[in-house]
Amino acid sequence: MSTAAQRFLQDAAVKSADLMHREIIQRGMDSYDAAHLKGRARIKDWEAARQKCQEIKREAINHLDRYLLQFEEKVVARGGHVFWAANSEEACAYIKNLATRRNVRTVVKSKSMVTEEIHLGPALEKAGIKVWETDFGEFIVQLREEGPYHIVTPAMHLLRGQIATLFQEKLGQKIESDDPAYLMAVARRVLRQAFFSAEMGISGANFLVADAGVIAISTNEGNGRLCTSIPRIHVVVTGIEKVIPRLDDLAVLWPVLATSGTGQGITTYGTLIGGPRRPGEADGPEEFHVVLVDNGRSQLLADAEQREVLHCIRCGACLNICPVFRHVGGHTYGTTYPGPIGSVLTPHLNGIMEFKHLSYASSLCGACSSVCPVKIDLHHHLLQNRRNATEAGATKSSERLMFRAWRHAMLHPRIYALGGWLMRNSLRMVYGLGLVGSILDPMRVWNRYRAPVPLPSESFRARWRKDRAAN
């Protein structure tokens, strides 16, 4: 069985050489970049807005216990239910049992990465419940039986022709065009029936507002509102880190999230929900449940050095700017959360032994940190993850030995100079024999894609010494 690291390397090799993929992603990201820049320009002082968002999230995370309890109290007072799930199993079991008890046969879902994280869809399907993803992108990747490619734009890796073919194959109807509006109308007709037959709607939450006791959702397609208002049961599945102190905080968080996510000033729909339908109200569910998922977050909260990773509002900006993501694509990561935030977070949520390679799969360019709307120092957290992996003994013993030898050389300038001389001259010999890239070439990995490094006959320090002796 291959490990996650081996799979990553294999998939990365394939995807990074896939020029079609590169072109699709590049084009998608180019239009995102343009929208994002324009969006940022609409905000008077972008840096001040980021600063403010960071402060709000820091306050929330530092007092998570208090704000979560405040949120729960308000929801319960309105007749809602709050369930605290320590892990995926508890969260899935609660929702599955609720569905079984209430004779739920069909579930409509709006977009939620936490439901991906806990594998809720498969858990419900296993219990014989039909689950419909109703976000257009999620609907597409569900039909393809794959996970979302990107946390905001799940099907950005597909061309519209591929989507038309997919619909033709999976929806049992003739597809006459690959025009986006037409394809969306097809999906809408299919989903409309699902909305009216579903007994349960499941949504995520972008924020949990403590002082008002409501969830806040940002959506663009309107499917979120249908999921949360038509079925008789509404279940919210969300991570505990999504809480914010005040309703007023949305005044900056909502536009900053929209700008970072898609470049929009604000998403088409901003929805606040705080409980089930009240007497006299025209619509809304009879039951309202909030499942607060921990799943490793408390452990991260206990880590003072990396706690701020919980500030993340899942906007996707770090994925979009990341040159590694742009070249290997979302699926290569093999994780719920791809890109820089995923590489920082996954070793914490799913184990450093299995996922430490993701912390190394970065050139540490820092583009992610420069765009993060809540100013998470993402690439420095990758460095801390690397240190943690080394300290946990998760790295190869050959590498450990090499760095020990390296240290010895660096602490003794003569050994360092001799080592450098030996390296240059042995490489010159190997290359002189025409053995570039052969098994005898210690630089063969480098030389697979690059011309060999220059090998000057003298180091700088040797030249310096000579010049000084001459003068």
Binding site: L9, A12, A13, S16, A17, R22, P323, V324, H327, V328, Y360, A361, S362, S363, L364, C365, G366, A367, S370, L383, R386, R387, N388, A389, T390, E391, T395, E399, R400, F403, R404, W406, R407, A409, M410, L411, P413, Y416, M423, R424, Y431, V445, W446, N447, R448, Y449, R450, A451, P452, V453, P454, L455, P456, E458, S459, F460, R461, R463, W464, R465
Partner: protein, 252 residues
């Protein structure tokens, strides 16, 4: 009394790209600085630090601090190594007895273009380089040291130089130290995208403030038989009137 700077030459520059350091010295001397090179210097510790081996990096960092403790100013032809000293030493040496010295040395350590523009307040160094050049914004210089304009200010003063901006000049070239070996496929793909952006400018040279990016790009461009060649910023600034027909190149 002549002003004096201490030169820190990154290990890979010392061993593989000595001309980078030679040209750095030439420019510094030309604008009136005496340059000293403490010969017991080795490496700042970045390779170990970036790979997670902080315990191996720490003694190197401490050694660096001791070697340069008495220097008035340290100048280094690499944004990445200066980042190591300035951004990461405070964390790495948080519990070291040399922490105070490290902070002091860090505050006096400058990347080459940063030193010229911000400390020496010089942008005109009397260079001539009649070629089309495009500039790659190396990540550590740009995002850790916030040097966006300094190198461009220097390039704009070079006689005869035609500066052409490339698409995505601020996107990483894919080097990333041990990343280039551990994830060679991804590193090469990123390098290829960069090479395509360089080629689209039709510039004869690509320059940067980090010779490590250029070492990687030189390999990528060389493998592709690309027209553009790499040249470190100081090697452009070192070119005097009358220009040499072809500036010194380090080729294997």
């Amino acid at each position: 009394m002549q002003r004096k700077v201490s030169l820190f030459v990154p290990c890979f520059v010392d061993q593989l790209l000595p001309q980078v350091a030679v040209d750095t010295v030439r420019v510094l001397r030309r604008i009136g600085y005496e340059v000293e090179f403490p010969e017991d210097q080795t490496c700042c510790g970045q390779p170990a630090f970036n790979t997670g081996y902080w315990d191996e990096a720490r003694p190197c960092a401490e050694r660096f601090v001791k070697v340069f403790k008495h220097a008035d100013v340290v100048v280094c032809p690499s944004g990445s190594c200066v980042t190591m000293v300035r951004t990461f030493y405070p964390d790495l040496l948080a519990k070291s007895s040399l922490r105070e010295d490290a902070l002091a040395v860090a505050s006096r350590t400058f990347e080459f273009s940063e030193f010229l523009v911000k400390v020496a307040a010089v942008t005109q160094v009397g260079a001539t380089f009649p070629h089309a050049v495009t500039y790659h914004a190396s990540c550590h210089g740009l995002r850790e040291l916030h040097l966006r304009n300094e190198p461009l200010q220097l390039l704009r003063q070079v006689k005869g130089l035609k500066l052409i901006e490339m698409t995505r000049s601020e996107e990483c070239c894919g080097f990333g130290g041990t990343f280039a070996a551990k994830f060679a496929d991804i590193s090469a793909a990123m390098g290829t995208s960069k090479a395509e952006n360089i080629a689209a400018t039709e510039a004869e040279y690509v320059t940067a403030i980090d010779p490590s990016c250029l070492l990687h790009l030189q390999g990528i461009l060389g493998k592709r038989n690309a027209a553009a060649r790499t040249i470190y910023l100081a090697s452009i600034l070192a070119q005097e009137d009358p220009p040499q027909k072809s500036p010194p190149q380090e080729r294997p």
